[in-house]
């Protein structure tokens, strides 16, 4: 995504190349096109561009990808945080 990048060095995206089978599914689901497969194994282009949507980890058949997925949304997190203290509407744990 040209021209847009968020904080560096925080993404929890990780790939275990040892168990990757090179099936290419991750290259088809990532909205940021962060994967490519070379020599039968997946590679991550740039971890800093990951928005932690979790699509790759959910769809990887080999479970080679892990990421702490969730919507990056401040108001959603404030709501979650308030809910954990039992304040605010508990039903609204997300932002939208």
């Amino acid at each position: 995504m040209k021209g847009f990048s968020y904080l560096k060095g925080v993404s929890t995206l990780a790939l275990d190349r040892g168990i990757c089978t090179g099936c290419r599914i991750c290259t088809e689901v990532c909205p940021h096109n962060l994967f490519y497969v070379a020599g039968g194994k997946a590679e991550i282009l740039d971890t800093d561009l990951c928005m932690e949507c979790g699509a790759c980890a959910l769809n990887c058949p080999a479970k080679a990808i892990t990421v702490d997925a969730g919507v990056g949304c401040a108001s959603g997190m404030i709501n979650e945080w308030l809910a954990s203290f039992n304040i605010g509407k508990k039903s609204r744990t997300g932002c939208c």
Partner: protein, 336 residues
């Protein structure tokens, strides 16, 4: 129901509505109302299977959410085609947010395919999903549980026809964008939320500022409200619009910078002459603008959860500190 034409002449006892790809005036008005959050929550279409044009057993099955605006965009984009539209129950929420929440998810898709008896209606075994649905739908699980192969298509609905024609996504169809237009259409909801959440406090602000000098001054009261609106415009409209050009990747800094500019402009126009008061007003507007812009992270397609968490940890205290400093400065100035 929006776009309903007739019932599909089905061989089975299933009732399938045939829908039009024409968007009526009412649909357009409705989508603007939804963007401004009037009755947004009830802006839904019933989940289920719909026929667009006159599809047969070989036609594509396109899966979407039951947020009416999404449903309208899909049927409009696919005008002139014959295909099936499978609408999932996402409680009126768009694909992206619903996938994150899991309502546009594996379980719902399997359930819906079964409920509409899709395997009796089409002979092929393929479902076309929006790419953003991949965060909630596990393709291999769908194949295993109901025999349908999931194909994730495009990000933008407008690119769907090309995907259907070429049978694959290519080039920029998969490239995410966040253009000025795409940002601006998100701002009404941000503005509306900011105003609604602050609603109960506005009369308070009005009175407190009005009685600031002892006897009530309408001038002060109105100025305080205007200062608040200036902060909202700065953080929920100007900052999102200027997003790529504002300094720092951190949203709170982007919002803060815009707030400083708008705030000093406001203080100048409002005729605030005393330097400490000028600084305090500007600082408070900047802090509020920064907070609102931090909230905009929820509407962008590139901010990560870990990033927002990290930013919030220092941004929220900093914003609070600025607000309190501004407030105390004003109090000191008043009583000295």
């Amino acid at each position: 129901m929006a776009g309903f034409i007739s019932w599909y002449p089905s061989k089975t006892d299933l009732k399938i509505p045939v829908i039009s790809s024409q968007i009526s005036c009412q649909d357009t008005v409705g989508s603007w109302k939804a963007r401004w959050d009037f009755g947004r929550m009830s802006y839904i279409v019933p989940p289920g299977l719909y026929a667009l044009g006159s599809p047969d057993e070989n036609s594509h099955v396109v899966v979407t959410a039951n947020y009416k605006m999404t449903y309208d965009l899909v049927r409009k984009a696919l005008a002139g085609r014959d295909l099936w539209l499978l609408v999932l129950e996402t409680y009126g929420i768009n694909v992206w947010c619903a996938a994150g929440k899991g309502t546009f998810g594996t379980g719902e898709l399997v359930r819906r395919v079964g409920a509409v008896r899709l395997s009796e209606i089409v002979t092929h075994r393929e479902l076309i999903l929006p790419l953003f649905g991949a965060a909630g739908v596990k393709g291999i699980e769908i194949l295993r549980r109901c025999g349908f192969k999931v194909r994730f298509s495009t990000i933008r609905i407008e690119d769907l026809p090309e995907f259907l024609d070429r049978g694959k996504a290519s080039g920029n169809v998969r490239e995410l964008t966040f253009t000025a237009y795409e940002r601006v259409i998100l701002t009404p909801i941000e503005l509306q939320t900011a105003l609604r959440k602050a609603g109960p406090f506005l009369p308070l602000l009005f009175l407190a500022a009005g009685f600031f000098n002892g006897s009530f001054s309408l001038h002060h009261a109105v100025l305080a409200l205007l200062a608040y609106f200036a902060a909202v415009i700065s953080g929920a409209f100007i900052s999102p619009l200027l997003l790529p050009w504002l300094p720092s990747p951190a949203f709170s800094i982007k919002g803060g910078v815009t707030g400083l500019v708008i705030g000093s402009f406001f203080s100048y126009l409002a005729g605030v002459v005393s330097p400490p008061l000028f600084a305090a007003t500007t600082l408070m507007i900047a802090a509020f603008s920064s907070f609102l812009m931090l909230n905009f992270t929820g509407s962008t397609p590139y901010t990560s959860r870990s990033g927002v968490k990290k930013e919030m940890r220092w941004a929220l205290p900093a914003q609070a500190l600025c607000l309190v400093t501004g407030f105390i400065t004003i109090l000191i100035w008043r009583f000295l």
